[in-house]
Structures are given as structure tokens and as C-alpha cells.
Amino acid sequence: MRFIQQNLLSKIAISNGHGEEIPYFDGWKAYDSNPFHPINNPQGVIQMGLAENELCFDLIQEWILKNPGASICTAEGVNEFRDTALYQDYHGLPEFRNAIAKFMGKVRGDKVTFDPDRIVMSGGATGAHEMLAFCLADPGDAFLVPVPYYPGFDRDLRWRTGVQLLPVHCESTFKLTITALEAAYEKAQAANIKVKGLIITNPSNPLGTVLDRETLRSLVSFINAKNIHLVCDEIYAATVFSQPGFISISEILEEMECNRDLIHIVYSLSKDMGLPGFRVGIVYSYNDAVVNCARKMSSFGLVSTQTQHLIASMLSDDEFVERYILESAKRLATRHKDFTRGLAQVGIGCLKSSAGLFVWMDLRRLLKEKTIEAETELWRVIIDKVKLNVSPGSSFHCSEPGWFRVCFANMDNETMVVALQRIRKFVLETKEPEMPPKKRYCQGNLRQLSFKSRRCEDIMMAPSMMSPHSPIPQSPLVRATT
């Protein structure tokens, strides 16, 4: 006697919890089906939706060539092959943990040191976030996440864990305030939802901004008062290329009273070193029980020892690391400057940022109306006509339409020039309500507060834009790309 059971797959397998149905991925599809190539396909779509760091591969490649023993499987390194291939201890190779701890310290200007015994491996930052969610929250519990945030969080933190994400809506200045946090917290309480923690991304994805000391301190006070966790995603820590510089939560812990059991850092080499393929994710927790539990869970996503070995060698080379960090920041700064200047020349402003692999571009004035639909329409035009894959703000849960995240570090200079040309052409050809003929007058330095043209002020001085002279501290959030 046979009978067919309904629902043979689990709910999570057939649901959309992985979040990949959203339009965000349509841009990728457009790119995949028609990818730009300077010679073979110069009319193709330029990928500007992928927050990758491709500016310093030459440095890493050079190091690898000079250090063949680091690849255990080469003739020079083969004697270590066996031990490495057998090592499946979820503690991770000691030299790997030591090297990562040292690197994390260097990235923070050696202002703090990290304990290698608190380093737990994970399958990229993706795995790290899911792992922490499993450790810190039960199904139905919630994390507060300030918007805009990295779209992948919806999957990483919620999909298999059953945990909820509650957005913290900031004012249009993209500034994270305690008021906003309190409001979100109260709302959760009223709805009987248990808040277990707050997730921040610093430096921010998609904003590219860093949190200042005062904000960080107030966050620590907030989570201590509520006795909830603080998960700090610092995967863009080494992409800071100008002032204001990066302040890690680890520094704040040295300066103020805090229940350290509440503090956890997510790290990865995917952005800082441009190695997303190697899947090096790290959970660094100040809570012993979390370290213990996470370590056991890391069995589900350990870093290949072949990779552990390579990274251990590379990051133990102090001279290389120091040179890399400096050079990477320099190249990012140059690329950022060139790109934002090119945008400014056609009156496109970006949120002032000092980190990240992208800019938060302001196209609000090009919207037909202040709606998500208008943003989506504009976005489709950018993909289909301008042939650039950029990421619409709505995919980051941004409540204000018209903002786009545009990546600049995943291409060479020539491609960036082509991208800027296309943007310029598009902007100049696009009709908009107030088309200032003297728009070009206001180009140049975004940093200047005084503008002759009122229209320029509209572009540059929108409340959501920061200036270095503004007393309002900057606020970040979120990360990007899958």
C-alpha cells in the first residue's frame, strides 16, 4: 500500500527565505547574460553591483610566487601536505589563528590585540552571521538592524535560524541614533517580540561610512542597558582610505565599562584582502560560552586547511601585511576620488564616505516621483539603457528612494572611465524638472559647503549628505553584495 505524502520537502527548502527572488538579483542576471569586456563586448553591462576588491591582486600574486612553500601542494611545501590534509580540528591550525589575530590587530593600527583562542572559523562572513544567530537567539527571537543594510542578512540571519530582523529606521541623514534604536526596541516589546541583539556593520555597507567614537559608545551603553548582544560586522575594516578613520568596537571595550559577554565581531578576508573564493570567515567573541558553542558549530563550515596554511604564511609576513594595508588604502582612495569626481562633474553627489568598495550615490533628483516604484524604474533604465549593474537602495531596505550603491573597486581604470562616460551621457540626456544649465559650476569639491547656485545646493546639500564640517556625526550600516 503506497501513499503520497504532501510537503515532502521542508518549508525552508521551498520558501523564499533565501531571499533570492528580489529584483536585486535581476541586475546580476542582466550582467551575466551580457557581461562587459573592453575588447570582446564593449557594449556589455558593467558590473557595479559586486563589492569586490580587485585593486591589489598584483601584490598578493607576487607574494605567492615568492613563497611557493605556502601552497603546501607545491614541491617546496609538499612535506607539510599530509599533516595539513589530515588536520580537521575545529580549533583551526594554531598558526592560522595567530596570523589572523595579528592581522586583525594591524588593521586596527595595533591599537588593540586579539586573542587567537577566541578566533572561530566559519564559512565566510555568511557562515559567521548564521552561526552567531544560532548561538544567540531562538526561533522567533529578533535582532535589530539599522537600515539600509546588506540584503544578504535576510538570508544569513533568518532563513534557517527562524530568527527575525527588525529594521531600525534612521532619519534621512542615515545617522544611527539612540532615539531610533529605542523606538525600534519599544516597538518590538509592544509586539511581544524578544530582542536578543543589535547588528551593526562598521564600516557600513552600503554607505561606506564609519561610526564615530561617540556613537559607538552610546551603542555599547544601549545594549548594556537592555542586556542584549552587539554583533559588529567589521569585514570592511581595512578598506578605510581616508578620514575619519576606523574605530573598532574592540577599542571601545578598552575605554569603557561593558559586559563583554555581549560583544561579538564578525570578520572575513573577502573584502579587505579580496579573497572571497577562499571562504575565510571569522567569529571573534568576548563571550567564552559563545566561543565554545560557535567552535562546535564551525564543524559545518570550517576553512580548508589548504587555505588556512596559505593564509597563515601570508599574514605572518609582517612586512608584506604592512605594505599591503597601506597600498590597498592608497589605491582605494585614488579610485574613490576619481570616481566621485567623475560623478560630481555631472552633478551627481554621493554620501561622503571614507571606507568600503562602493559609493552611496544620490540620484533622487532623477526620480519621476519620490517612490520605490520610480526608483525601480530608474534602476531598470540604468541596467537596460546605460548598461550598468548598480544596486537600488530599496534592495538594502532603504526607506528613502533614489539612492544607489555603486561599486568601484572591482574593475580596472579603463572600465571605470567607460562607466563614468556612460553615466555622464545618461545624466546629460535625462530630462529633469529643474535642469540647471550651470550645474557644472557646482562640481568639484563635494566638501565645500557654500555654493553659488541654489540648485547645486539641492544636489550637494541634501540633508542626507554629510560634510566634514557638519556637527552631525556620520552613521553607517550594512554591507553589500552576495
Binding site: 500500500m1 503506497r2 501513499f3 505524502q5 515532502l8 520537502l9 521542508s10 525552508i12 527548502a13 521551498i14 533565501h18 600574486q61 605567492i64 610566487l65 601552497s71 603546501i72 607545491t74 614541491a75 611545501g77 609538499v78 601536505f81 595539513t84 590534509a85 589530515l86 588536520y87 580537521q88 564559512g123 565566510g124 555568511t126 557562515g127 544560532f134 548561538c135 544567540l136 537567539a137 531562538d138 526561533p139 538570508r155 534557517r160 524578544k194 542586556n227 548582544h229 559577554d261 555581549l262 579580496g274 572571497p276 573564493g277 577562499f278 571562504r279 559563545v290 558553542c293 562546535k296 558549530m297 564543524s299 559545518f300 563550515g301 580548508s304 586547511t305 589548504q306 587555505t307 552576495t482
Partner: protein, 468 residues
């Protein structure tokens, strides 16, 4: 409010079991031929260390593969950036071909139905997430790999209901055992979503018979549930009857697509190639929805592109793979024989096996009583006095006390011989009646064998046996 989740504070990770305690003791006092010759010999770790030299010489001859080069050109950048959860096409192609080769090309696999995961640990968990809800159950024959308690239950919230197998028929799966388990689940109000088997078996070291495989397929057809076949030891089969994979039987039976879609295979390179550190696991499913969902879930544990590339080159070398498979099996067989004869010398028998990196050893005669406590007592003696870390059957959920899993492929020949010597010394001296006891058992059993031969002859000639 509890600061951490329930998952974080419970014991579902299973690491308080004796399986892991033995490891801990070993870590405290590990055997080393020169530096710690009296230390504990690790025989609780199913690793394959027998064929590394084959891998090493391949690597020495193929420097490009590990040096991020293809045809002499550096592809470092391409690899460093490659994070597509569909996996490196060249690797998946090479991997499915390797899997087919191990199965004597009796089945073929489509690389598009393969999902790469961080080890079989991740593959099993991911499949469970895809096929079952929290509170539902998988049926698993005992004895089974202790890690399943963590991999299948911990974060998924899924339950395991055992299918009890006993020594009465060499621990094979029977129809009644399957039904019993299904009823048990129903009694516990657990909806059964599938059966998970390990073939070749860990800890038994046996391959499933065609009969058992057919039984399983009939069972899952009848109940309308899934079948997961963990085949990570498929390359370690060294003797007849040989390995029959579930896919082969499905094809033979000409099952319809609906059944094919409910059969999923798990694979890994940790045992066959001896590369547990590289974290290479895979799920193979004929159901597109499972492949799709599992692929997305693999984001949480992708295989390093550096490793994918290296292994794609290695496994594409057909000359290497065919030689490796053959030689590796030969070495396992040799080592297996060493362990079996060494134990026999100590009056200890093993379940007849033809695969795996371990033997399922029968020490029931050494127990003070037929109880779990007596098994634990014996285990501790072997751990602390004999200084061998072996895995007690109870850690594998075996219902019959007195069985132990003993690994043989993770040490040198000398070490294995030493372990056998220690065991013999222990049996000879420690159980003062032991020698007599085991001798008695041995001779009693030999007599029984003679008797049954004689009975057969007598009955054949229609005469009554004089003795039983």
C-alpha cells in the same frame, strides 16, 4: 532572560559522549613512537593515512595545480574571486566522474545535480534542513556514526529514531526492524520524513547487500518518504561482495521518477582520498528543488576555490585516479587483515567486513555482564590500561553491549602491531579467566561448527543428531 540560545546551552552537539571523551584522553597522552611510546594509541579516528605518498608524488609532478596556475598561466585572481555557489564546473565534473569510477561505471552522475558542501558534516545537515521540519524524524539503522546526533539534529531540530539491528544477522537491516522503527516514531508523534543509511557502513565496515537495498527502496516507496545514502566510504571497499550503490539498484528496478527524486546521496573526499582537512563534501540529488535549495544553503559552507581547483586537476587525471583507487583498496585490505589476525590472536573476533577504515570488534566475551555499564568499564580499561582509544558500541547507539569500533588506517604498521600486542597482553593477563574463557568460547564455537556440519550430513541421511 537567557543570554544564549537553547541550541547553545543544550548538549545536542553530542560532545559529551564517550566517543569524544576518548579523543580528549588521547589528546592528553598521545602515542608517539619515539617521544611517547607508552602513550594512548588513537584507534578511534577513521582516517585514511595509507595512500598519502600517491598524492604527494602527484603533487610533486603537477606543481601548477597547487600554485594557482593553469597551463603555466596564473589564475590566482580568478580563483580568489570565485565564490559562485554552483561550484567550479571543472571540479564538479571531475568529482562526478570519480564517483562513477568508484562505482565501476555502473552509474553515472550529472554534475548539475551535485551540490558542494564543507565536508559530509555540512552535507548531511543541509539535506536534513531541506527534507525535514523541526520535530520530524529520520530513521537510522544502529549502530551509526556518533556525529549524526550533532549533524542531523542539533541546529535542525529534527529527531533520529533508530532502526535496531543486531548481531543475530550480522546487523543487517530487516523489514521488521524498519517497521518497528516507523511505529516507534508514530508512537512518539514524530512524522518520519526519511531513512538515512551509511553504505558502506560506519561503524560496521560492511557494504549493504542488494537485498537490503531493495528492502529500503520498497520501504520508502510504501511510506512515501526520502532515502539518504551516505556513501563516503564507497572508495574503501576492498573485498567482495563489492559496493552496490543505491543508484544502481534504483536503475535496476526501473523505479519511476517520483522515487528517484526521493533518493539522495552524500559523498566526501575525507575518507576515500584521506583529505578531511580540505572540507570537501557533496550532495547528489535527482530532485531539482532539493538541488536548488541545497545549493543556496551551501553559501554557509562553500568549498574553498583554492581546494576546488587543486582537486579538479587531481581528479581529472584518470591515470592517477584509477591507480589510486586500486592501490588504496589494496592497502586497506592488507591493513584490515593485519587487524583481524592480530585480534584473532588475542581471541577476539571481528564482524566480517569488506570496507571502511575500521573493524566492528566483538568483545562481548570480555564483559563482566551483558550491560552498558560493563561495556563502559571495559572501554575505560582499554583506554587507560591498554592505552588504546577505541569507540564503544554504545556511542554508536548499538543495543548490544560489547561491540567496539577499532580503526586501522590512521597509523603506521608498527603502531598497529604494537596495539595488537597490547591487546593480546591485556586479554592474556587481565582476565585471569579470560584466556580460559575465550579459549572455551573458541573451542565451543569450533565444536558447534563441526556439529552443524555433522548435523547437516546426518539429516541428509535422515538420522537424528546425538548432541546439540
Amino acid at each position: 532572560m537567557n543570554l544564549l540560545s537553547r541550541k547553545a546551552t543544550c548538549n545536542a552537539h553530542g560532545e559529551n559522549s564517550s566517543y569524544f571523551l576518548g579523543w580528549q584522553e588521547y589528546e592528553k597522552n598521545p602515542f608517539d613512537e619515539t617521544r611517547n611510546p607508552d602513550g594512548i594509541i588513537q584507534m578511534g579516528l577513521a582516517e585514511n593515512q595509507l595512500s598519502f605518498n600517491l598524492l604527494e608524488s602527484w603533487l610533486a609532478n603537477n606543481p601548477d595545480a597547487a600554485g594557482f596556475k593553469r597551463d603555466g598561466e596564473s589564475i590566482f585572481r580568478e580563483l580568489a574571486l570565485f565564490q559562485d555557489y554552483h561550484g567550479l564546473p571543472a571540479f564538479k565534473k571531475a568529482l562526478v566522474e570519480f564517483m562513477a569510477e568508484i562505482r565501476g561505471y555502473k552509474v553515472s552522475f550529472d554534475p548539475n545535480n551535485l551540490v558542494l558542501t564543507a565536508g559530509a558534516t555540512s552535507a548531511n545537515e543541509t539535506l536534513t534542513f531541506c527534507l525535514a521540519e523541526p520535530g520530524e524524524a529520520l530513521l537510522i539503522p544502529t549502530p551509526y556514526y556518533p556525529g549524526f546526533d550533532r549533524d542531523l539534529k542539533w541546529r535542525t531540530g529534527v529527531e533520529i529514531v533508530p532502526i535496531h539491528c543486531t548481531s543475530s544477522n550480522s546487523f543487517q537491516i530487516t523489514e521488521s526492524a524498519l517497521e518497528k522503527a516507523f511505529l516507534e516514531a508514530q508512537k512518539r508523534n514524530l512524522r518520519v520524513k526519511g531513512v538515512l543509511v551509511t553504505n558502506p557502513s560506519n561503524p560496521l565496515g560492511t557494504t549493504m547487500s542488494r537485498n537490503e537495498l531493495n528492502l529500503l527502496i520498497s520501504f520508502i516507496i510504501e511510506k512515501g518518504i526520502h532515502l539518504i545514502s551516505d556513501e563516503i566510504y564507497s572508495g574503501t571497499v576492498f573485498n567482495s561482495p563489492g559496493f552496490i550503490s543505491i543508484m544502481e539498484v534504483l536503475a535496476d528496478r526501473k523505479c519511476d521518477i517520483e522515487v528517484w527524486n526521493r533518493v539522495h546521496t552524500v559523498y566526501s573526499l575525507s575518507k576515500d582520498l584521506g583529505l578531511p582537512g580540505f572540507r570537501v563534501g557533496a550532495i547528489y540529488s535527482n530532485d531539482n528543488r532539493v538541488v536548488t535549495a541545497a545549493t543556496k544553503m551551501s553559501s554557509f559552507g562553500l568549498v574553498s576555490s583554492q581546494t576546488q581547483y587543486l582537486l579538479s586537476v587531481l581528479l581529472s587525471d584518470n591515470k592517477f585516479t584509477s591507480n589510486y583507487i586500486f592501490e588504496n583498496q589494496r592497502r586497506i585490505k592488507e591493513r584490515h587483515e593485519m587487524l583481524v589476525s592480530g585480534l584473532r590472536n588475542a581471541g577476539i573476533r571481528c564482524l566480517k567486513s569488506n570496507a571502511g577504515l575500521f573493524c566492528w570488534v566483538d568483545m562481548r566475551h570480555l564483559l563482566k555482564s551483558k550491560t552498558l555499564e560493563a561495556e563502559m568499564e571495559l572501554w575505560k580499561k582499554i583506554l587507560y590500561e591498554v592505552r588504546l582509544n577505541i569507540s564503544p558500541g554504545s556511542s554508536c547507539h548499538c543495543t548490544e553491549p560489547g561491540w567496539f569500533r577499532v580503526c586501522f588506517a590512521n597509523m603506521s604498521e608498527e603502531t598497529l602491531n604494537l596495539a595488537m600486542k597490547r591487546m593480546k597482553d591485556f586479554v592474556d593477563t587481565n582476565t585471569t579467566n579470560g584466556k580460559n574463557q575465550s579459549h572455551q568460547n573458541f573451542t565451543r564455537n569450533s565444536r558447534r561448527k563441526l556439529l552443524s556440519k555433522w548435523v547437516f550430513r546426518l539429516s541428509f541421511h535422515n538420522r537424528e543428531p546425538k548432541e546439540r
